[in-house]
Subunit: 436 residues, 4 copies
C-alpha cells in the first residue's frame, strides 16, 4: 500500500516538479556559466538553489561540443581544492594531530566540484544530466588528462547515489511500457535484438524472463538488465536459445535458468558496478517464484579468446579459412585442438597484472561462479567467430559455493572450473609463450 | 505511466528484498561485530556485501544501550583516517603539488567510516537503521565528544543521500494510508494533534492541506511536513485555525494559504535541511491548483520571546499573574507594553554570534520571508504563554521578494518587516541591556 | 503492469470525469424532474445522456425527504410497462407463439424504469446515488407498497451490476487509506469497534487479517468485509479474540483462521448477496499465503436463541436474574440446561417455512459450513446476553465437505453438526411445543 | 489515493482469482455441458457457482467449431422462456392487471439464458469469454436465424455491463504497456498501422494523442480508441497527417484537434455503442489540457461514396482509368464533377429507410457534428480510391451546436453542413434516379 503511495510521489520530481521550478527560475542566467556555478556554490542552501541548479543544467544541455568541453575543463581547472586552504589545514594537523584537524584537512582537500555537483543534483531529475555529463567527459578524457580528476569525483558521488541500497530490481516483460522496452532494444549489447518481434520472443513466452535494475531518480532508464531462458538442460549454443520457431515450455517444467545476455545501459555509469548484485538477486527471485529450478548458469561469450589464441602455438591453421566449420573433418580437428587451448586460456593463462584475460570470465569468476563447460561452435554469428572462433562457455552459479569460489579467485587468483574443463587441461600442450 | 512502473519497483527493496537477502545471509556472524565491519570494509564489492551489511545492521538493532554506544565509539576510535597513510599523502603533495597528489591526499584524509557507512547502506532499507544510529549518537554526544567526528561523517553522507533532488513532495490527506497518518500524529511538534478526530479536522476539510517530503528509501516515513489552512484573511490566533466547530470554505474561495505548523520528523536527520525547499515548493503547488490564492503566510510561534523578555526593562509585572489576560484592563496594558518589545526582539535584538534570537524567525527570515504581523494573544495554550506570553507572528512569503529578502538577511543581517511592525519600534524604549 | 495501467483509468470516472461532465451540463434543468427523466429516456443514446443523467442525480441528491419520496413514487406510477403495448404483445404472442413474439413480449413487459435506471447509471459514479436511492426507498416501502415493484427493478439491475465477476477482493490493513478505514469502524455490525485504537488492534497485529469486497464503481466503499484472527486453537469466547493485552503470534505459527465478524456495509444493496463468495475466497487467499493453516472456522453470535428459548419448556429461571453467570453453581446449572436446548435450536427446531430459525446459522449452513461447537458464555456483552444468554458458536468450513454439506442443507434441510453437538441432543428433552 | 488502492484490487480478478478458483474447481465436469449449465442455473447462488461457471467457460474455450455452434444452438433451443409458465403469467395478468402480475409476467417472459449468462459471468474474467462467444455467434447467425434471440440477450446484458458509467477513458501513448499497444496495431481499422515504428509516429510526438475506453473487467483490451493529430489547420489529406518526415509542433501551439481514426476493437461488442461518448469526452479532455485548442474536427473516410456514385448520372468516365489523378487536366475535370455529387451524396441522397447513406456520416451527424468540408484527393491509398475515389471529409464538433445539430438530424433527418458544402449543391445537377 505504502508503495503505491510512494509511487505517486515520484511524479513530483520528474514531471511537474521540473516544470514548476523551471517556471519560477526567471530567465536562466544569461551571463557566464561559470559565474552561475560560483553563485550556486556560494549560496547558503536556500530554496533558490533548486532553480539555479536547473538553470545551469538546462544551459549545459543546450551547449555545443566545444561549450561542453569548456565546462568540463572549467570543473577541472577551477574547482579543485583551494591549495592555500589545504596548506593551512596540513599545517594545523601537523601542529596538533587529532580527529578535528584531520577532519578539517579532509574537508580542505575535497575538490570544490564535489559540492558543486551535489548542488547541481538539487535540480529535479538533475542526475540524468549529470550522467550524460560524464559520458561527454569520456569523449575528451584521452586528450585532456586533467579531466581524470573530474571523473574521479563523478565516480565518488555516483557510487554513493547509485549505492545498491537505492537500486530497485524490476521484471521487464511484454506488459512493460513501450518507452522502456525501446531502450532494451537499444541497449542490448551481447546478442542484438533485431526489432520488436525479436524483443517479443525474448520477453513474452512463458519460459523467458528479463530483469533490470532501476534507480528512483531515473525511472525510465534501466541501468543494467539480464535476459534469462528457462530450460530443461544447460544449452550449448545461443541458436537454440534464440530460435524463432522453438516451442516454449511451461515455466514450472524448467529446471535450469540460463543467463544468456547481460547489458550495462548507461555509459555515464561506467565503473559503478551493479552486475554482481543483479545476478545474485535474480537467482533469488527465480528460486522463490519457481521452486523447480535447481541450476543457474550463464551462456556467455568469450570475447578475448581469438586475440589470445593468435599468439599460441598449436593454433589450427584451419581457423583462417572462412566457413571451416562446415567441413566435418576440419571441424573435428579444430575442436580437438581448440578446447584444450580454451581450458588453458581460462584456467592457466594470465594477462596484464596477472589477471584472467577474458573480461567476461573475470566478471563471473569474481562473482563466485564456476567455469562449467566450454561449448564448441556455440555462437555461429560473425561476431562469435571473430571474437572466439565460435566458442561459448557456461558459468555456473551455485549459491552455497559462491562465497568460497569468490575467495579462491579474489585471494589466490584461482579459477574454479568443473572437472570436465580441468580434464581438458591435461591434453593441452603447455604454452611456451611468456604471459605478459 | 512510467511512474506506476517505478512505484512497483520499490517493493523489492523494502519488503521482499530484505527478506530474500536475510534468508541467504547464512547465520549472521556470531563473532565480533568489529570483525564483521572490517570484513565488510575489506571485501571487494562482491554481492555478499549486501548480506554482510544487513547482518551487521540486524545485530546493531538487537544491541542494548551499552552495546550501541560501544559500536559508535568503535567507529570514532578505529575508523578515522589512517595517520601514517595521511602523513605519506601530505608528503607526496608537498613534494609535487598537483591534482593527483591532492586527490590522493583527499582520499587519505577520508575517515574509513565513511566507506563503512556507505557499505552498510548496501543493505535494502539500511538507511532507516543508519538514521536511527545517528539518533542514538545524539544521546551520547554530550558525554563523548569523540563522537562529533562520527556525526560529521553522518552529516556528510546524509546530505548527499537526502539531497533535495531525491526527495519527493506528497500531499497528505484523509485518503493517505493510516500507518503514515499515525506518524503525522506522532511527529507533530508545534500544535499537538489530540487524536484521530483532531487529525481528521486538519486533513479532511476542503480548506485544509498538508504536504510532506518523503525519500524513496524510507517510503513510510515523512521527513518533514507542513499543515496549511486556506482562509480569506491572515489569521491572528491559532484558535480560529483549529476551532472544532468552524465552517469550512470552498478551496476556490480562499485567498490566503496559512502555514500554521511545520514539523521535522526524523531526529536522526537533524541539520540536514529540507524546510526551506518544502515551503517554496508547497507555495508552487498551491498556486498551481488554486489560482485564487494570492497570500502565503505563516502563523508561527515565538519560542524564544518569554526567555528574552525576562531580562528586559519595561517587562509588565502582570505577566507573572496567572490568567492575567482574562482581565480587560490588564490585557490592554500588557498589550501596549509587549508589542513594541516584541518588535524589538525580532528586528533589533541579537543573540549569540549576532544572530536573530528566535529560532523560528531565523528559519523563515533565512528563507526570504518578511515579518508581517505580531499577534497579541495569538496562542492561549499553556505552551503559548510559557514560551511567548501568548504572542504569535505571521511571516509573509512573497515569491518576487524572497531572493531580495534572503540576501538582506543573509548578507547584511537585516530583518525585513512590514511597516506595521517597524512602526511599533518607534514606541519601544531602547533596551539598555547589552546583547550577548 | 496492466493493472496499474487500469488503476489510473478509474480516475476518470470518480473525479475528473464527473467534474468535466458537470461543467458542460449547462445549468441542471430547472423544470420538472419528471420531464428531465422523460427526456433522458427518449433520447437516442447520444452523448448528452451522460450530462442529463448527472443533472438528474445531482438534483435528486439535493431534494428533501418529501421530494425524494415523490420521485420514487413517480418511478412506481409512471415507469411501469405500458399496458396497451403489453396487451398487444400478448396478443401477438398468442397469435404466433415463437421466439420472436416471446422476445417482444418480454420487452413490452419490462418496466420503463429499468431503462431509466440504466441511463441514470450513465453518469460517472452514478451508481453511488442509485444505491442511496434504494436506501431511501426502504424507509418508505412499508407505507407505500407500490414501491415494491421499484425495488424489484433495483434488485434486478444491481444483481447484474454487482455480479460476483465484477467484485474485487482486497485486504484491508493498517496501511489502508484512512477514509476507507473510517468506514470499517462505521460499518462494523457484530462487535462494535470502539475507535481508532481498537481498529488498529484488529488490523495491525501479525495475527490479524481483514478482507473486503469492493466494486470498481464504488472504489471508496467496502461492500462487505470479514475480520479474521489467526490462532492456534478454535476460540470459545470473543473476549479472548479481542483482548487488548493479548500477545500476538507470528502468522506462520497459526493453524486456525477464525472469522469472528462479517458485516454488510451498504443498506442499499440488501439482498444482493456477496457473503458466501467472500468467505470462500478469503479461505483460498489465506491458504495460499499461510500454508500452515488447516482449520477455518467462525466465532459467531446466535441472535435468535434468547427469543426462541423464551417459549421453551425447561428454560432455566435463573436466566432472568441479572449477572446469574457470576455465581458458579448457577452457572453450572444453566450450562447443563442450556447447551442441549441450543443443540436442539440449531439441529431440530424450525421456524417459518420450515427454516432453521437462526439467521446467522442459515447463512453459514447455506454456505456449506458445519455447526462445530456451542460455546457457553462465549459473549459476555449486554447484547450477547440479550440475544443469546451469552452463547456463541463455531461454524467450520472444510473445503472438501462444503458442497456436500450445502446439498444436505439446501435439498433436505439437514443441519450438519459435529458429534459433540449431536451428542448434546440426546440429553435434550424433546420440546412439546409445536414449531411454527 | 483510493484509486491506487482500487487499482490493486483488480489483480484479484484477472490473475490470481482465476487461478485460485480454477485450482479448487475439482476436475471440470466431464459429463454433458448442458447438464453443467442446468446445474449452474438451478443452484442457489452459493459460492460453488463461481467454480461451476469457470469450468463451463473453460470447456467452451476448448470446444471445436462444431461444439461451439452446438452450445449456442442449445442456448437458443432450450434456454428461452418456459411457454407454459409464460401462458400462466399472461392469464394471471389478464385476470388481475396490476404491477405485481405485470412484474411476474415480465419475469416469466425472460429467456432463461439471461440468468445463465449472468451466472457464467460469475467466473472471474468470464466476460472476456462471453464476448468471444458472441463473436462466434456472428459467424453462424446467417445460417441459423434461431441465434437471433440469443444475440438479443447478449445485447441486453452487454448494454448493461458495458454501460458508459462503467467505462474508463485512458490516454494511450508511448509509455503504455506493450501488450496493449500491440492491440492498437492489430485493431486499427481505418488507416493501417504498418508496425511499431509507424505506431511510435502516431503516439510519441508532442502533437499526437490517442485515447481509448476500457472496462475494468477487460483491463488489457481497449474497447474503442481514437487517434488525434494536433495541428494549426484543418487537414485536407491523410498523407499530411501521417507523413513520416513531418516536423512535430508543440502541443501548446496547436489550435485544431483532428480525429483521424476511430476504431472499434471488440467484434463481440457490436451494437453496444461507445463511440459518441468517446469523442465528446476526448474533446473535454483536450480542452482542459490544451486551452489553445478551438477547433475539433475529424478527417474521415467516405466508405459508401464510390458504390453510390456508380449509379449516378454525370459520373466522370475518367474514374475508371487507373491513375487518373496523375493527369492534371483529368484531375480538374473530375474534381468539378465529383465535389457537387459528393455534396448531394451527403446532404440530399438517402438510402434504405430514408437514412443518410454513408455509415461514417451517420455516426458523426448522429453525434451532432456538422459536415464541414469535402476534400478532393484526400486519400490516395488503394482503399481510398476504391471506396471513395480519393475523397475525404471533415466533420466539425462544435460543443455549443452539438445538441442542436443532433436534434436536427435525429428528428427531422436534416444534415447540417457548412456553407462551403451547401454551395456545392447549387452546381449539382439533380439526380434523376430515385432513391431506394
Amino acid at each position: 500500500m505504502s508503495l503505491s503511495f510512494l509511487g505517486d510521489l515520484l511524479q513530483t520530481i520528474t514531471d511537474r516538479g521540473r516544470d514548476l521550478i523551471r517556471g519560477r527560475a526567471q530567465a536562466p542566467e544569461e551571463g557566464d556559466l561559470s559565474l552561475a556555478c560560483e553563485t550556486l556554490l556560494s549560496s547558503r542552501g536556500e530554496a533558490s538553489g533548486t532553480g539555479r541548479a536547473l538553470a545551469i543544467l538546462d544551459r549545459w544541455e543546450a551547449l555545443d561540443d566545444a561549450g561542453r568541453l569548456g565546462f568540463l575543463k572549467m570543473l577541472a581547472d577551477r574547482y579543485g581544492p583551494d591549495p592555500q586552504r589545504l596548506a593551512r589545514a596540513v599545517d594545523a594537523w601537523r601542529a596538533d594531530p587529532g580527529p578535528l584537524t584531520m577532519a578539517a584537512l579532509h574537508e580542505a582537500a575535497e575538490p570544490r566540484r564535489q559540492e558543486l555537483i551535489r548542488r547541481l543534483n538539487l535540480a529535479p531529475g538533475g542526475i540524468a544530466t549529470l550522467v550524460r555529463m560524464r559520458e561527454e567527459l569520456f569523449r575528451h578524457q584521452g586528450e585532456h588528462p586533467a579531466l581524470d580528476a573530474v571523473d574521479a569525483d563523478f565516480v565518488h558521488l555516483f557510487s554513493s547515489w547509485f549505492n545498491r541500497g537505492f537500486l530497485v530490481l524490476r521484471r521487464i516483460d511484454w506488459t512493460t511500457p513501450a518507452h522502456i522496452l525501446e531502450k532494451i532494444i537499444q541497449y542490448e549489447a551481447v546478442h542484438e535484438i533485431a526489432g520488436w518481434d525479436d524483443l517479443r520472443r525474448r520477453l513474452a513466452p512463458a519460459d523467458r524472463r528479463c530483469f533490470g535494475f532501476f534507480h528512483p531518480q531515473l525511472p525510465d532508464e534501466p541501468l543494467i538488465f539480464v535476459e534469462v531462458a528457462l530450460t530443461r538442460d544447460i544449452p550449448a549454443t545461443i541458436a537454440e536459445v534464440l530460435a524463432e520457431d522453438r516451442t516454449p515450455i511451461a515455466a514450472e517444467q524448467a529446471t535450469t535458468a540460463v543467463f544468456y545476455s547481460i547489458s550495462n545501459c548507461q555509459k555515464g555509469l561506467r565503473a559503478i558496478s551493479f552486475g554482481n548484485f543483479l545476478i545474485k538477486q535474480v537467482v533469488e527471485e527465480l528460486r522463490r517464484d519457481l521452486p523447480g529450478l535447481d541450476t543457474f548458469v550463464t551462456l556467455s561469450p568469450v570475447p578475448g579468446f581469438a586475440a589470445w589464441v593468435k599468439g599460441e602455438e598449436g593454433r589450427p591453421a584451419a581457423l583462417d579459412q572462412p566457413g571451416w566449420w562446415r567441413d566435418e573433418a576440419v571441424r573435428a580437428e579444430v575442436e580437438q585442438a581448440l578446447l584444450p587451448m580454451a581450458a588453458r586460456y581460462f584456467v592457466e593463462a594470465r594477462g596484464r597484472g596477472g589477471r584472467v584475460i577474458d573480461p567476461v570470465a573475470r566478471f563471473h569468476l569474481g562473482n563466485g561462479a564456476r567455469l562449467e563447460r566450454i561449448n564448441f561452435l556455440g555462437d555461429l554469428s560473425p561476431r562469435g567467430f571473430k571474437q572466439a572462433h565460435g566458442l561459448m562457455v557456461n558459468y555456473l552459479y551455485r549459491l552455497p559455493d559462491i562465497e568460497k569460489n569468490h575467495e579462491a579467485y579474489a585471494v589466490q587468483g584461482k579459477v574454479v572450473a568443473a572437472p570436465a574443463v580441468t580434464r581438458l587441461l591435461k591434453t593441452a600442450p603447455k604454452s611456451r609463450r611468456k604471459q605478459g
